[in-house]
Symmetry: C2
């Protein structure tokens, strides 16, 4: 009885239906034949899966865009009706929460930021709940329901358990965030590491669509990395993966907050760059913005600090490429503000250290504002909704 599905439930209860919907969502519009080919299913299975999804309004048939194959019957492509449902995504930094309302195709409809006065769960959760309520009010104007909430947090996050194991930025330990947020908002909640959430958004809706092996490297307050291998985001056996920031790049290099020395993050994070600029120039720059301004004014010593950071990032990316051979590496994060100061060094160091055909990996940049991190959180909520 698909047409009688309640508004908030997804009428795809089989793995095949979930797979077909995901295929159309990430690659659509597609004809049923094309969707069958991409999903590795029979055309009959696709027809069976598509019918209730059309009846419930999640898929629509593009009658106007009829494809006339050389042989066989004309075929109408199907696509996801993005406006059929809404999702909320939140990203918590140390200073603020960024929230977005997206549609089912993960397009941002509304974005909001609210400052945080403290970082403890007790201080963050009420602010987050208020922000969600504000976005739910906004959603009423669209006339469709919000069907899920995603929350992205830096650190060691156990998505399956819905818990933040450890977040150094927030100083959280073992916070059962999904349960707490479900209680506060009444929405189904998905919690994930922020870089993995961003990687999910790239995999489903961005520069990673259609790639089975790629990496997202984020530079800024930390240096993070999301990895997709064999078509799936890597989570690690013990919850840690993608820690490119703690790949050792300079033996006996500067001390890192993790306790080791010479980690990539200890050379190329905003804080590391700022501290080093202070050290080599003697100018008391307060933060990354001031350090960047000094370098932009032409201070050669400050510029050398960025060059060194770029070299280290390039070597870190080469380590990823040499180990995993991805098709593409997408560099992103707020640290890209300084990209003109180290882009050349990233590229040169990567090219020098990439082994053989690993150098064929495409390295591209994609400046993403913080709203995109929140969008990543919404993408994880969409994944949960469609049963992936």
């Amino acid at each position: 009885m698909p047409s009688s599905s309640p508004a908030g439930t997804f009428p795809a209860h089989t793995p095949a239906a979930s797979q077909i919907f995901t295929t159309v969502l990430t690659h659509g519009p597609l004809t049923r034949q094309e969707a069958a080919r991409r999903a590795g299913l029979s055309p009959a299975a696709v027809t069976r899966a598509v019918r209730p999804l059309i009846e419930a309004g999640f898929l629509v048939e593009d009658a106007g865009a009829e494809v006339r194959p050389a042989l066989g019957r004309p075929a109408n492509p199907v696509r996801v009706d993005g406006g059929r449902a809404l999702f909320v995504g939140l990203k918590a930094t140390g200073d603020e929460i960024i929230g977005v309302l997206t549609d089912l195709c993960c397009r941002i409809r509304v974005a909001r930021r609210v400052p945080l006065s403290g970082r403890s769960p007790r201080e963050v959760l009420p602010v987050a709940a208020d922000l969600v309520r504000e976005l739910l009010t906004e959603a009423e104007g669209f006339g469709v329901r919000v069907l899920g909430l995603g929350i992205a947090v830096a650190g060691d996050v156990d998505r399956a358990a819905g818990a933040v194991r450890r977040s150094p930025f927030l100083d959280w330990h073992d916070v059962p965030l999904a349960g707490l947020a479900e209680e506060a908002t009444g929405l189904p909640v998905t919690v994930d590491n922020d870089v993995r959430a961003l990687t999910v958004a790239e995999q489903w809706f961005g520069d990673g669509v259609g790639l089975s092996d790629f990496a997202v490297v984020t530079v800024g307050a930390g240096i993070g990395c999301g990895l997709v291998v064999h078509g799936r985001v890597v989570s690690g056996a013990h919850g840690v993966a993608g820690e490119i920031g703690h790949v050792p790049v300079v033996p006996d290099g500067p001390p890192c907050h993790c306790g080791d020395r010479g980690c990539l993050e200890a050379v190329a994070s905003d804080a590391a760059i700022t501290a080093r600029v202070r050290e080599v120039t003697g100018v008391a720059v307060a933060d990354a913005t001031e350090a960047l301004a000094l370098a932009r004014e032409g201070d050669a010593r400050a510029r050398a600090v960025y060059a060194r950071a770029g070299e280290a990032i390039g070597r870190g990316i080469a380590a990823v490429a040499n180990l995993l051979g991805p098709e593409r590496v997408i560099i992103s994060g707020e640290g890209l503000a300084a990209y003109d100061l180290f882009a050349g060094q990233i590229r040169d160091a990567f090219t020098a250290a990439a082994f053989g055909s690993a150098a064929r990996c495409e390295v591209r940049t994609r400046p993403l504002p913080f709203e995109e991190w929140a969008r990543g959180a919404a993408a994880t909520a969409i994944q949960t909704f469609v049963g992936r």
Copy 2:
């Protein structure tokens, strides 16, 4: 008509049958119920898949080992009859070819080594073909047929195409090895990178059984790494993966044969260690054996070279653990002969550089003679035979 299958064909033509057979091969003996649970299939599908495999003699029912569950009917475990088929595995080094005859459970029955007088395909192939013929003659004594040949070669190997793209050790470029070997031997041939082949043997028959994420790191003439992520061996989008030997560990370190500087291989391979021992001691050691002897005699400068190599290996392994979060890293290779001289440094450097719970990754050693590399090649032939 399963019982009339010719001796050389495998009566499992469906993905489910291939999956069940693989599950019993790698985890067996198993009851049908347990096999169904592990493979994620219905008991009915398992019963259907198992019958022709029993009729053809590839699976046997262990009537003596009946399992009496608390509820339900007693269940006879099934296991693979390892003696039902034989396989040949070859590993080519620069100096010799190592060949093994294994059974279907990848147990070595016969092992042989033959020296090489040259490294060109024209010189290597006839020697390899002679060795295979010798092993086929040995196989006659077992009264079962040899059903596949696996060949493992260092370098960039395209298993799907059956071609060696580039092997620096052999100085081969674009050699269609599988086709040439099939012509020479009449056997179905699987060609793979040697470290990946070793990883397959560990995944199916060794220390990786049951793990979805693990790594094999080999030290010796080169430093290699086989990676299993999400239960599958990583091959890389462009044929390069697991190149831990070319992870940059010492910026501006010693030059590497790949053209870069400070790669792990430029610090910790046998040749790098030998050259460095010569340099710091002034003793004209000819090879790794002599360098090792000097260190064992107590020469502090020589011992320091091994210590530095161990530190670099530990950092390289930490890079793998921080990026992928494997459950286990297995260190192997002929370089383990010097293990007492750098085991402590590997462990200390790994512990210092592993981030958070990535340190929970178990690092173990497994000394493997060259015959084990050839066994890895046989394991790839077994994979091909069972359709994986």
